[in-house]
């Protein structure tokens, strides 16, 4: 068994190689940076402002949350075309629960914070059950996911319509609205605290993984490289917080808030929005999904099944049940995305989530998820969602016609997949 080994540890390698950074990730960050700089020039410096970056992040959250689940669906060689419609059904259930059903059933007063939590629970449950049901149709009855979810695309959109009789439901509960973006933010101080905690956690995680490798005498990066990566993480996290904190609440909004409490705004007083709770939710989803993908048996089986379904089955993995779980998880994430999307709008409307299935699939695919299955990353999908959203809002800011915007986004999707195919052919896997 002859063996050609890769670069031998200890032999001198380039500075870059010693950092062991992910080339694909760098490419995507590079693409994102190019888009940002380009639009910043075209908009005369309006794109890279704290205000716009704040808006960009809260606009991305809903699609990004669903994209993390779509990674698992596509990795197992399935597809989910029903996410946009399911989002509408989850959103309708949440809206109806907090404005009518739970009010009538439990006698809670409208606007009570408990209503928000009951509604959220109902929405997530709805997503899990419907997602699981679709997964059962795919896994146990062997109907192709494309067909099941194509049907679901029509079914759930119109189930949502029936639940609300086609009405727009709003305004939504104030506690509920905290998850929408600008109506629920941490403020400057807590944002900084979160940033520091996140930085500490990132550095600890890096060194914990290094310690685990050393314990088994595996090769590790040189200490300076480990430190450099840690520094990049900390700078990125704190930089992100600094940008969000730089977006201050406009004077007229502040005046209104103080007026509500019967006070006047003190001279020279400013306040920041800081980190939106919806973004916090996305970060939590990203961390949990990454841990599931990399560190749990379930995640391992998702990737194994995508890589070789027969091998997975011969290894004793119940691939049918796995399909149900993957779609149920997708459903829960759609529920969370529905919470974010409807609370950002402050109401539920019939057309909520329309065409989201395409945005979500595009985000996952631009993020490097292979439709052939077996390959995909959570961070890639989130970056993919961010790239799509920045293209879209950048073009809107520049004043590109709506039809042309869609033409560009569609072309970018196809081009991104082409680049990915070429990249994989070169690198080999």
């Amino acid at each position: 068994m002859t063996d050609t080994t890769g670069p031998h540890p200890g032999r001198s390698r380039s500075l870059f190689a010693q950092l062991e950074l992910d080339l694909r990730l760098l490419g995507m960050i590079g693409a994102f940076a190019v888009i940002c700089v380009l639009f910043n020039i075209l908009t005369g410096g309006n794109f890279l402002t704290p205000r716009n970056l704040f808006n960009l992040t809260i606009q991305t959250v809903s699609v990004a949350i669903m994209a993390t689940g779509m990674v698992f669906v596509i990795v197992t060689r399935h597809i989910d075309l029903a996410v946009g419609s399911l989002l509408a059904t989850c959103s309708a259930v949440m809206a109806m629960t907090q404005t009518a059903w739970a009010v009538d059933l439990l006698g809670l007063p409208l606007g009570s914070p408990a209503l928000a939590w009951i509604a959220i629970l109902a929405g997530l449950l709805t997503g899990a059950v419907i997602g699981g049901f679709q997964g059962w149709l795919v896994g146990y009855l062997s109907i192709p996911a494309f067909i099941v979810t194509l049907g679901g695309l029509l079914v759930w959109r119109n189930v949502a319509w029936y639940l609300t009789n086609g009405q727009t439901i709003g305004p939504l509960n104030e506690t509920f609205q905290l998850f929408g973006g600008i109506n629920g933010t941490l403020g400057a101080t807590w944002s900084w605290i979160f940033g520091i905690l996140a930085s500490v956690a990132a550095v600890l995680a890096l060194f914990a993984s290094r310690r685990a490798k050393l314990r088994h005498d595996f090769p590790v990066k040189p200490m300076w490289a480990e430190g450099a990566v840690a520094a990049i993480f900390v700078i990125a996290i704190m930089g992100f917080i600094a940008i969000l904190n730089a977006y201050t609440i406009p004077a007229r909004v502040l005046a209104r808030q103080f007026e509500a409490r019967g006070l006047a705004v003190p001279e020279g007083f400013t306040a920041s929005y800081g980190l939106p709770i919806s973004v916090l939710l996305l970060i939590a989803v990203a961390v949990v999904m990454t841990v599931i993908a990399r560190k749990t048996r379930f995640g391992r089986y998702v990737f194994a099944t995508g890589g070789n379904p027969d091998a997975a089955e011969l290894s004793g993995i119940n691939t049918r049940l796995l399909t149900v779980k993957v779609f149920a998880l997708m459903g829960v994430l759609v529920g969370i995305a529905g919470l974010v999307a409807s609370s950002r709008l402050t109401f539920h409307s019939n057309d909520i989530g329309t065409l989201d299935e395409l945005r979500v699939i595009a985000a996952a695919v631009i993020g490097g998820t292979a439709l052939a299955g077996g390959i995909g990353t959570i961070y890639g999908a989130i970056l993919g969602a961010l790239i799509m959203q920045s293209l879209q809002s950048g073009m809107a800011m520049v004043g590109v016609d709506a039809p042309l915007q869609n033409i560009v986004v569609g072309s970018v999707l196809v081009a991104a997949v082409l680049i990915d195919i070429i990249y994989r052919r070169r690198v080999g896997g």
């Binding site: 068994m1 002859t2 194994a304 070789n308 004793g316 077996g374 390959i375 896997g429």
Partner: protein
Amino acid sequence: MAEDIDRSGTPLVEMRDISIAFGGVQAVDRVSIDVFPGEVVGLLGHNGAGKSTLIKILAGAYKADSGEILINGQKVDIRSPADARTHHIETIYQTLALADNLDASANLFLGREIVGAFGLVDDSAMEAETRKIMARLNPNFRKFSVPVSALSGGQRQSVAIARAVYFNAKIVIMDEPTAALGVHETEMVADLIKELKSQGLGIFLISHDTREMMDLCDRVSVMKNGALVGTERVEDVTEDDILSMIILGKNPKREAA
């Protein structure tokens, strides 16, 4: 390999009167085979003779329509690959059954991951174990952190073999283990078979190479059109005898007697 194998006791594995049909085709028709500890039993026959199907029933990939399986004389019920594994039956499939997108240790432990705190998989521990067993099976193997799609045929084969022998197998099924290998790698597999044999494992070996089978096996069972033609000790037959069993479906020696 005509060392004395004690066949007086209970066989390690006995498959009795196994039948399975797919649609109208009787793929395996009342076949009985067995293997004793420390024995290698070869399965021979044309493509479509039913060898792989028979062996997949033992591995839990298919469920027999009728017949029974005994391990150490005890009747067992094997309904899934997981059941087969709990009975210490390990299989090296012709296709190797590797998830190409995962690395060697993820494949080795697929379905049986080492988990640490909070039920999270312990990749470092699994890689350390993989390094240990690979040092024994294939000391040149160093590609521990790349997907197995980037490995050569021989390297992939050693991952599949490592998976079969790591978990204290008592019965190993090998379906064409050397079909895709070069001379040197084929030798490695032959050495491994001898080592497992000396440890008292029972081995079912499927191959098309009659010469190789004569070298490695203690007995050979020949199948044709789903039925068993016969089982012979290798020292009692010639290569020509076996070939005529495969082709004509009868044993010239027995016919003559």
